[in-house]
Amino acid sequence: MTKKNLVAITGNDAAAYAIKQINPDVMAAYPITPQTDLVQTFSEYVADGLVNTEFVTVESEHSAMSACVGAAAAGGRVMTATSANGLALMFEIVYIAASNKLPIVMPVVNRALSGPINIHCDHSDSMAARDAGWIQIYSESAQEAYDNIIQAIKIAENMKVRLPVMVMYDGFITSHGIEVVDFLDDKVVNEFIGDYKPNHPLLDTEKPLTYGPLDLYDFYFEHKRQQAEDIKNSKPVILDVAREFKNISGREYKLFESYKLEDAETAIVALSSTAGTAKAVVDELRDEGKKVGLLKPRVFRPFPYNELAEALSHLKAVAILDRSDSFGAFGGPVFTEIRSAMVEYGKMPENINIIYGLGGRDINQQDLKNIYGQLGEIVETGKVGDRIQYYGVRE
C-alpha cells in the first residue's frame, strides 16, 4: 500500500488525471458539457508532452467513437469521454465497439438527454446505452470515478473479457464539485494496468484480418450469443480487479456497496452521488434508532441480479431510486431490473420506485428522509400506495 497523496480536485480533473496516468495510445474525444473540463485538462497534458497519447480532436462524438473503433482495432489502448447528447450521437458506434470486442474505456459524465435541452445530471444518457454490450460502472464520488477508470482498463483488457467499459459519474455534482481525492503514484498505476496486449491488431499486416464483415442470419445470432456470454463472464474479472486494486489503494470495491444494510429493515437503492447523500441520512436516522440502510449499485452491466436480490431479501421494504425514466415501462430501469431479480430470488420485500432528479432537480437529505419515512409507513400499515412515484416534481 502506498502513502496518501491527497489532492483537492474536481471529478473531471480527477478523471483526466487517471487518463494521464493510464497514458492511452490514442484518445479521440469531443467536448460536451459537463465532460468538457476533462477534455480540456487532458489537452494540457498533451500540450505539455506529459503523455504519449495521440490525441484525435474529432469534429463530433460520432467520429470520436468511430476513431476509437479504428484505433482499438489497429491495436492499442484507447479512451474517450462524453455526456448525454454526445453519447446519443455516438450510439450507433457504441454498439459496434462492443460487438467488435474492443476494450475502449469511456468515462460518461451523466447528464440529462435532450429534449428539452438541459445540461444537468440525470442518468437518462447511460441508461439508454445499457443494452449496447458495454460494461457499466457507476461512481459515487470523484475518488470512485478515478478508481473506477483505472480499474476499467484492467477489466476491459482482460483476455477473458475484451469488452469496452463505461465509467459513470454525476454531471456537475461530481464532475465540477471539489473533493479530496487520494491519487496513486504513476508507477503504481502503470504496474497495475500493465502493458497493452494487442489481440488481432490491424497493424499486424503480416496477418491480415477483416473487421466488421457482413454477418447475416446464418451467423449473426451465434455472435450475439457469444457477446451475451462474454459480458456475463466479466463479473469474476471485475471482482478480481477490485481485489487487486484494494492491494494497491486500500480502497474496497465490489459489485455494489451495502451501507448499514445487514440489520436494516428498510433501505434505499440509489446510484452515484445520491448514495453519498443517503449515507448521511442513514447515519442520522440510525442515531434516532431507526433501522435503515442503503444499497448502492456499482456494476450495472453485467447486472448482478442474484447478489443484489440476496442483499435486499431480508428487508421489509425498499425504495428503488431511478434518476431516469423508461417512458411507458413499469418503472425506471433500476427498479424493473431489481424487482425482476427479487422475483427470481424468491424473496421480495415490499418495494416502491422513486423516479427523481431529472434534469438536475436537486435531491437533498430531507427528501431522502421523506422516502425513508414513507418506507416506515409501508412497513407499519402494510399499504404501498403508488408503486411508481415521481418525487420532487410539480404535478
Partner: protein, 307 residues
C-alpha cells in the same frame, strides 16, 4: 507513368470471387488504386456495395488488413487506425511503413459521410480517401444522392407526370475537398487507368491527407450492359461530364483534354437512366444539362490556367 506489364504482375489485394456485379466500376477502381501501393496497406470501407459484396461472413475478399465500421464514418475510422500507427511509431513500438486508405461510395462520401471526411481532412491524418462515385445509393437499390446528376431517373427521383427525374445538379465534391487545402486532390476515371494509378501512387506517397474521386459506372443503376463499363467511363471523360484533373498543393492541373468535346447526349443516350430526359418534350432539360457541363468545363480550364 504506370506500366501495364508491371501492374499486372502485382498480386491483387482485392481477390477474385467477391460478389460485386459483373461490370462493376467500383472493383476495377479499387484494384487499379491498390496496385499503386508498394507497402502494406490497411483498408477501411464505408457500408456500401464494396463492403457488403467483399466481406460476407465467414468469407473475406481482402488480402490486406481491412475494417468496416459503419456507413458514415470510413474517414473517422481510418483516422483512428492511422492515429494508433502514429502513436505506436512515436513510442518506438512499430517501425515498418504502412499505408492507410478508406473507400466510400458517393452516398457514404458526398452525403452521410461528408462531416466525417471533412474532419479527418482538416486534422491532417496521413491517409488516402477514395470516393467510388456511382452516382446514387446503389447498394440499397438506386436511390438518388447528392452525386446523382440532373435529369437522372432513380427510385427516389422517379420520372413522374410532373417531375422528370432528379431536378438538382450534383454536388461538386472534388471542389469541396480541394477547398480543405489538403496536399493532394484528384478526379480520375477507370478508363484512363494509367492516369488513375499514377494519381493513386501520388496519393499514397504524399504526406498528409489525399483524396481521389473516381467515377465508377454501375450497370444496374445506370441501365447499361455490363460489358460497357469502360465505354461509359470513356464517354464521361470525352463529353467533359467527368473531367480528369488534380490539385497538388493548391495548384490545379488538367490531366486530359478531349480533342473534340462530344455532346453530352452521347453520354446520356448510352444509359437507360436518362431515357426520360431524352424525350423530345424535355429538350430544354438536355440543353440546360449541356450548358452546365460547358460552364463547369470553362471554370475548370480557368482554374487550371488552360485556354
Amino acid at each position: 507513368m504506370a506500366k501495364l506489364k508491371e501492374v499486372s504482375k502485382k498480386k491483387d489485394i482485392l481477390s477474385p470471387g467477391h460478389r460485386l456485379c459483373a461490370g462493376c466500376g467500383a472493383s476495377i477502381a479499387v484494384r487499379q488504386i491498390l496496385s499503386a501501393c508498394d507497402d502494406p496497406v490497411v483498408v477501411a470501407s464505408a457500408t456500401g456495395c464494396l463492403e457488403v459484396a467483399t466481406t460476407i461472413y465467414p468469407y473475406t475478399s481482402w488480402r490486406s488488413s481491412f475494417i468496416h465500421n459503419a456507413f458514415e464514418n470510413a474517414a473517422a475510422t481510418i483516422s483512428g487506425v492511422e492515429a494508433m500507427y502514429q502513436s505506436l511509431k512515436k513510442q518506438g513500438k512499430i517501425d515498418k511503413e504502412i499505408k492507410f486508405i478508406a473507400f466510400g461510395g458517393d452516398g457514404g462520401t458526398y452525403d452521410i459521410g461528408l462531416q466525417s471526411l471533412s474532419g479527418a481532412l482538416e486534422r491532417g491524418h496521413d491517409f488516402v480517401y477514395v470516393c467510388y462515385d456511382n452516382e446514387a445509393y446503389m447498394n440499397t437499390g438506386i436511390q438518388r444522392s447528392s452525386a446523382t446528376p440532373r435529369g437522372v431517373w432513380t427510385t427516389t427521383s422517379p420520372c413522374g407526370e410532373v417531375i422528370p427525374g432528379k431536378t438538382q445538379y450534383r454536388k461538386d465534391l472534388t471542389g469541396v475537398v480541394a477547398a480543405h487545402k489538403i496536399p493532394y486532390v484528384a478526379q480520375a476515371s477507370i478508363w484512363r487507368w494509367s492516369d488513375l494509378i499514377d494519381k493513386a501512387h501520388k496519393a499514397f506517397y504524399t504526406k498528409g491527407p489525399a483524396f481521389l474521386n473516381v467515377l465508377a459506372p454501375c450497370p444496374r443503376g445506370w441501365r447499361f450492359p455490363s460489358e460497357d463499363t469502360i465505354k461509359m467511363s470513356k464517354l464521361s471523360v470525352q463529353t467533359n461530364f467527368w473531367p480528369l484533373y488534380e490539385v497538388e498543393n493548391g495548384k490545379w492541373k488538367l490531366n486530359y483534354k478531349p480533342k473534340e468535346r462530344k455532346p453530352v447526349t452521347e453520354w446520356m443516350k448510352s444509359q437507360g437512366r436518362y431515357k426520360n430526359a431524352l424525350r423530345p418534350e424535355n429538350k430544354w432539360l438536355v440543353e440546360e444539362i449541356q450548358k452546365d457541363v460547358d460552364d463547369n468545363w470553362k471554370r475548370l480550364l480557368e482554374l487550371c490556367g488552360e485556354k
